[in-house]
Symmetry: C2
Subunit: 501 residues, 2 copies
């Protein structure tokens, strides 16, 4: 439900469902100054960057030690409430949105760099450090932490690990998972465990590390993370190529891949997005072209210069109407920042912005874009399209209004068709945002029954009482079906709400 | 037990425990020409490259279709026998060694390249293709499949995926997991499932793909694998650096890492290994030096030439007594092949060669080598040491004799101490070989009880009847504790054998 409908139509949600005595115990664990439950505080943590979803938590806690997190989770098991971990709340699939009977557990104040180990090329951080800040600190000493989500200026590493965040350097450098060497985390039971460490190779038993990465805060709360660094490339260049026709830009992307040049970033913006970005950032983009590509190359200076010539030639051959090469680091940063502002720029146009990440094998980017446009047109919706053309990870973005029920309904239909199209093209319903709340239904279409059952069983072995971020990734049966007692009235409310069914 | 003790002391193992009627059904599934159960055939599949372990299977099947694999596993569930999948049998932790009441399921005849997709930079293969053959085929068309285990000339991709094989390019290019985009596999239940595909980014639910990779044939049988390729580097150079003192070579490795040059390979051989390799391959290595480093650099020609100068300078500064740069591709291949022959070369010295892969953070390579030498000397054992110095993945190799019970006992003690030392240094008991049969006990020391319990539970949700490669990774309770009936006599035999306890 939307934030605005919330207070009127769902008054019962204000009913406190976690016992007062339990909340008191929570407060005792973290201390009064780290416990929040005023209506204003609850409202602040009732939503994240995902549109259309919202729920009030019953309290918010800001634990000061691993032991406190452990005690909170033990209490959650014994007194039957849910714990929703939250970093910056910048996720786009609802991973940190409260669920029924829950408290929000903040980790964004755990934001220190604990150790830089140059002999092993690792950095150990707390989960709350901002990704962009970590990148900046590492670049100062000659290293690159490559994963670079669009939200890097606000998102946390803990959230990145929980969602296996992608970003614009995925093509050449991979995603978050490729840089996480190990972590300390608290299991839903409250037990603290370390998995992995500083070993480049480790095959000691099942790979639970990569199972935890991208588990969307449902299997554990990260408290310390060991990340891999790489030497910072000596040089980089940024090129914008303007195309009068979007299909030419898609062909240029294919030709660059075929030329065996691996760009650090190969980003696509369509006309709607270009116009919004220009209106927002005023960097001199032509607003009549159908598409632009932002191409970043990095490596040794000679190599980058050589690749830049070749990539420019490929773009010209595919009818780029103009090429713009950043003349300075400042200009490169400006172009890059403008691309990263695409979401914010689109969001200014209409009250509600639904940003998705249907992803296809990179060979299918052009057909996918065609289908998105056809679907938008069929449902009379305004879409901006941008994304990581180099790795097939697109962001069809619907500019809509959550108060226009008919338009929201058409939006839902359109996204359903977009996901179906992605799956038909061998793609996936989410490349980097995760399932969270917003794609649970689609996951049920995309994955086989057995596949889903295996995933649910994994959740059950980590979290038999469903205390940690329940109802995310897949719909969860009400916890009443577990070992915990529940009143009939409460069960009816669960079912009525539909949050768990 | 050793192969030679086998027939005398464990005569009961010849007792057929899978019912004749069941074996007949198996034969009917695959056809008479793909079913084998003569004593000679059973003996051939009773061991793999792991020393000291052996068990006769009751039959060997060579399925001709995914459907047949599915039917075999369904039968295994309904008639209570174990299925041990096997590629080339080149594993070093006993992953493909038969267990009680088992049949061996061969996949090494499924060896085709099914599709090369240059637009998505993927190759789809059957599990039985030989890794080295795939590499050669890809290099012919300008691509590199980087994972390069020492056994690449004989191992299969299916086995590499099952073990998450590492190899000499791990430092720069990662391990098998980093190149597996998806696969079709048969679950222990017999159900066929596809996970992943050609999407560079995919966060659609829990990451079961990476859980399956390295699961040592215990969670599924791979039938089709989609691998990621990268453009083949333009140029490569190979350098040998000889060091009179091993400690100087370790310092050189640290200095190369600190210089921010990422070598494609950075291999270490100690004096024992050098002497064995020289005796075996006759490539003119000096047999008096304490250590050599084999360093491979690749990339653009200019970059490689520049790095070669810098790496040479670092080696000289760390008292390398001589540098030898391969003057031709043929000489580079010769040097590389000699390094890869280290295991074979050492194996000629004494009847039994136990090759291990204790792995430490790369900063701890020098202390680890010191400890290995001290432990070898304490137990009066002959060790050769070689391995991937660049990524901390060492191969302490004991040259021994399985018939000398006292020496084998001392070997066991020594390896126990080596693993303990690796763990104390922040390392792992296995960098690339897996747990299999040979490290189950050590895994119990290395992992916490909860960690082990989570792994066991993962096995249980995939394979509740324990039909697929049971008793690997962790000791398994006899299947009698599951839903299947077992005679008391049979249970006693299980326990006596110790295979499951």
């Amino acid at each position: 439900m939307s934030r605005l409908d919330f207070q009127s139509s769902n008054a019962y949600l204000d009913t406190q469902m976690i016992r007062t005595s339990t909340l008191k115990k929570l407060r005792d664990i973290v201390g009064g100054e780290h416990y929040f439950d005023s209506p204003e505080q609850k409202l602040v943590y009732s939503y994240d960057a995902t549109p259309l979803y919202e729920q009030l938590p019953e309290a918010i806690v800001s634990p000061q030690s691993v032991e406190q997190i452990s005690k909170i989770l033990q209490l959650a098991n014994s007194e039957a409430f849910a714990v929703v971990p939250r970093g910056s709340g910048s996720g786009l699939s609802g991973g940190s949105i409260p669920v029924e009977d829950c408290i929000v557990l903040l980790t964004n104040h755990w934001d220190r760099i604990l150790e830089i180990d140059e002999r092993n090329l690792t950095v150990t951080v707390e989960p709350g450090i901002i990704t962009g800040q970590l990148q900046t600190e590492m670049e100062k000493i000659g290293y690159l932490y490559p994963p670079d989500p669009g939200s890097s200026s606000i998102c946390t590493i803990g959230g990145n690990v929980a969602e296996n965040a992608g970003g614009i350097r995925g093509l050449k450098y991979g995603v978050t998972k490729d840089y996480v060497m190990g972590f300390e985390f608290v299991l839903p039971s409250g037990e603290v465990m370390m998995i992995g460490g500083k070993n480049v190779k480790d095959v000691s038993g099942y790979n639970l590390k990569d199972l935890l990465i991208g588990s969307e805060g449902t299997l554990g709360v990260f408290t310390k993370i060991v990340l891999r660094l790489i030497p910072k490339p000596e040089h980089s260049s940024t090129l914008l190529a303007y195309f009068d026709r979007a299909s030419d830009s898609a062909e240029a992307v294919s030709a660059i891949t075929a030329s065996k040049i691996t760009a650090a970033a190969l980003e696509f913006l369509d006309n709607t997005t270009i116009r919004c970005v220009e209106d927002y950032a005023r960097i001199g983009l032509p607003t009549t072209i159908e598409a632009l590509l932002l191409i970043e190359l990095d490596g040794r200076r000679g190599e980058v210069e050589q690749d830049l010539v070749q990539v420019s030639e490929i773009c010209r051959r595919h009818r780029a109407s103009q090429l713009r090469i950043a003349k300075s680091a400042a200009e490169a940063t400006q172009l890059r920042t403008a691309r990263k502002a695409a979401f914010a720029a689109l969001a200014r146009v209409k009250p509600t912005t639904i940003l998705e990440d249907a992803t296809v094998p990179r060979s299918e980017v052009a057909p996918m874009l065609e289908q998105i446009n056809a679907i938008a047109s069929k449902h009379d919706l305004m879409f901006g399209n941008f994304g990581h053309a180099g790795d097939g990870n697109l962001h069809p973005t619907c500019l809509t209004n959550e108060h226009d029920k008919d338009e929201i309904h058409r939006t839902e239909l359109a996204f359903h068709e977009i996901y179906s199209a992605a799956l038909r093209l061998g793609g996936t319903i989410t490349g980097e945002h995760g399932i969270g709340l917003s794609k649970r239904k689609f996951l049920e279409h995309a994955a086989s029954r057995t596949h889903l059952e295996l995933m649910r069983s994994v959740k059950a072995i980590f979290d038999p009482n469903m205390v940690l971020n329940p109802g995310k990734i897949f719909t969860t049966r009400p916890r009443c079906e577990g070992p915990l007692p529940i009143s009939k009235e409460k069960l009816n409310k669960y079912l009525e709400l539909g949050a768990y069914c």
